[in-house]
């Protein structure tokens, strides 16, 4: 029998990290093999005996020598890798035991099984998600520097009031757009990492939108506008939707989709540069939010055409729930007209009114286009778009 391999720890003791060298040396041995441990640390034989016992290795005082055990191997016997590290070839469903582990990690069996109810690829995924996340990071902007808050002169009082009313309306809508994905965020299985990341940035986007619209509303020091019960009832139906797919459809495809037109309208017709800038910047973010909603629902509808029926029912249900409410409150509609008019001359007010009518037509057109992408026939798309909330979001 050949003498066992040796390792020389020199002055290093087990109280100062010698286990790293020992474990490295044991890596090449099989259970039952011996490793003689040399070293000058006076307590090495005592500590080595205790260390071997605690780690399932045998110990022989002569040498001293470790008889390699198999506990460190046994711990990983049932371990399995969490899917593939890259998004190609994602599992259709995340394993409950994968929990928070990184995708691609080797997961020890027997750990906790946290509940992440949103664990199916088709509910969540779209191939564009990693790219959207990268765009979202690159597109982050700082309200303090991206907007020239000092730009523009004071507006006539009632035009300013109209801007403030629109901002007041936007803030509550942005807050709904923040809360809805935030509520789902913690229920999405971490295996679908890019979706979690994208929605986390989306929530941060909405936080910024809340901030800039609030700052524009307060810019001239006046009171904020009104918050109608009908508008908030409309947003409440979004908050009350428990299903991620349906909430995503109502909020991102239909609501934020309509907001793309609204923010474009504000950018174009704003009577002051700050309003134009905040609308412009928010619109860039919203385009990503809509893109994710449309892309993942398109993916889902393609794999399960029956989903379209659920989407249709969701639109009808929300319409029925809101049938007895005012929808967009009068003050917001009127404020949009005044904002677009920019003055109180009858001709300008008339042009402003026409612009708001055009806005609504464009919103309808946008919604129909997105519904068509999800595979709805033209006639169904037109019907569902018409049933969308009058509150826009």
């Amino acid at each position: 029998m050949s003498p066992p391999p040796t390792i020389d720890l020199e002055d290093l003791g087990l109280d100062r990290g010698a286990h790293l060298l020992i474990e490295r040396a044991l890596r090449d041995l099989v259970p039952g093999d011996r490793l003689q441990v040399l070293g000058r640390d006076a307590q090495l034989p005592i500590h080595l005996r205790a260390w071997c016992r605690a780690h399932g290795h045998g110990f022989e005082a002569d040498g001293p020598t470790i008889v390699r055990g198999d506990a460190d191997h046994a711990r990983w016997d049932d371990a399995a890798r969490v899917g593939a590290a890259t998004p190609d070839g994602l599992a259709a469903r995340a394993g409950p035991g994968w929990g928070l582990a990184a995708r691609g990690a080797l997961v020890e069996a027997g750990g906790p099984e946290p509940r992440f109810e949103l664990d199916q690829r088709d509910q969540l995924w779209a191939d564009v998600v990693p790219r959207l996340y990268a765009q979202a990071l690159a597109g982050q902007w700082d309200p303090a520097t991206a907007i020239d808050w000092d730009a523009g002169a004071q507006l006539p009082a009632d035009v300013e009031a109209a801007v403030v009313q629109v901002m007041t309306y936007l803030v509550e809508n942005e807050m709904a757009a923040l809360v809805v994905p935030a509520r789902f965020l913690g229920r999405i299985h971490p295996y679908f990492r890019e979706v979690v990341q994208l929605l986390a940035v989306q929530v941060a986007d909405e936080a910024r939108h809340v901030e800039v619209f609030t700052r524009r509303a307060e810019l001239r020091g006046g009171d904020l506008g009104v918050s109608g019960a009908g508008g908030r009832a409309s947003l409440q139906t979004l908050l009350d939707e428990p299903d991620f797919v349906l909430a995503s459809f109502l909020l991102s495809v239909l609501g934020e989709g309509s907001f793309l037109n609204l923010l474009g309208f504000l950018d174009e017709h704003a009577p002051d540069p700050v309003t134009a800038q905040v609308a412009h910047l928010a619109r860039q973010d919203e385009a990503r939010h809509v893109a994710y909603g449309v892309a993942h629902l398109e993916f889902l509808c393609a794999s399960d055409p029956g989903v379209r029926e659920q989407l249709r029912v969701a639109v009808h249900r929300r319409h029925d729930a809101l049938a007895q409410t005012a929808g967009l409150n009068r003050q917001v509609f009127d404020a949009l007209v005044v904002l677009a008019a920019g003055s109180w001359s009858p001709a300008d007010i008339g042009r402003g009114f026409d612009a708001v009518e055009r806005l609504q037509a464009e919103m309808d057109e946008g919604r129909r286009r997105r519904l068509t992408r999800l595979g709805f026939p033209d006639q169904d798309a037109a019907e569902l778009s018409a049933l969308h909330t009058r509150n826009f979001m």
């Binding site: 109280d15 005592i46 205790a50 260390w51 016992r53 605690a54 046994a74 711990r75 069996a109």
Partner: protein, 284 residues
């Protein structure tokens, strides 16, 4: 009533987690197992010998008492199983690296810190070891006990840790501890690396065992032993429990590692030959 009832001492809240987990596993394996918890080892030993429980998860000192008490009643006690980590432990007597104490004889006239009075590893065994080396604790040197968790037979690490702290605080000149705690205390900073020196190390001894007597249910105890020994560290159902209980595998019990403790018990008069508690200041 269950077919097999085991006693365990609740020296830590994790004992509930451990034995609830093992109970569920054993019942899955069709052994009708239950357990009761004790606040100290003495009552557990008495209940085992009186036949109120079928097995006792015993400290080494509780084993010594059970053996004596059972023999006195005409029963035979044995160790059914033990953990891999219960075999071949040692204790050490350490001093500060800078102390003017170079061998055991230098402890004469000095103060030695120990764990609780009923701790085999941090009191009874190392003091008996010193006695054999010619320094009689209490006569040749002063003993300062750190009585934490009396009745738990040293399962509570607090007494040993206090002795180590006293050593570093220079209120004692040496401290007695089990080898594993000398490494633990170095890692946690109680005794920083390089701050201590080992004066002496005891010969190897064994620690806990699952004690049973020949009055117990033979077939059930045999099944219990088989099932415990079949627990595999690669099984994710039991691995967290094995980690908590501090073992990788259950081994066949042996009683060859308790001679030194039997001797220490005699030297201090902790129990008499019939297993009565005779230590004067012991209030578990």
């Amino acid at each position: 009533m269950s077919d097999l009832v085991m006693g365990a001492v609740a020296y830590d809240p994790k004992v509930v987690t451990i034995w609830e987990g093992f109970k569920a596993w054993l019942r899955d394996e069709r052994l009708d197992f239950d357990f009761v918890l004790y606040s100290n080892y003495e009552r557990q030993v008495e209940d085992l010998v009186d036949g109120r429980i079928d097995a006792a998860w015993n400290s080494p000192l509780a084993w010594v008492r059970t053996r004596r008490s059972a023999t006195d009643r005409g029963l035979q006690a044995r160790a059914l199983v033990m953990r891999d980590t219960d075999q071949d432990l040692t204790s050490v007597v350490v001093t500060r690296a800078d102390a003017d104490i170079h061998d055991v004889a230098d402890l004469r006239g000095r103060r030695v810190g120990t764990g609780a009075l009923d701790s085999p590893q941090a009191t009874l065994l190392p003091l008996s070891h010193l006695r054999r080396l010619g320094v009689d604790p209490g006569r040749d040197c002063e003993v300062q006990r750190f009585d934490i968790g009396v009745g738990l037979h040293g399962d509570h690490v607090g007494g040993e840790r206090d002795a180590a702290r006293a050593l570093m605080a220079r209120t004692v000149d040496a401290a007695c501890l089990i080898d594993g705690n000398s490494l633990l205390f170095a890692h946690e900073g109680t005794m920083p690396a390089g701050a201590t020196r080992v004066l002496t190390q005891t010969p190897a001894f064994d620690h806990c065992n699952m004690t049973v007597t020949d009055a117990g249910p033979v077939a059930e105890l045999e099944r219990f032993s088989e099932l415990l020994q079949s627990m595999s560290y690669s099984d994710p159902r039991v691995r967290p429990l094995l980690d908590l209980e501090g073992l990788k595998t259950w081994k066949e019990g042996r009683v060859s590692g308790y001679d030194a403790l039997e001797r220490a018990v005699d030297e201090t008069g902790f129990y008499d030959d019939a297993g009565h508690v005779t230590a004067s200041d012991y209030r578990p």
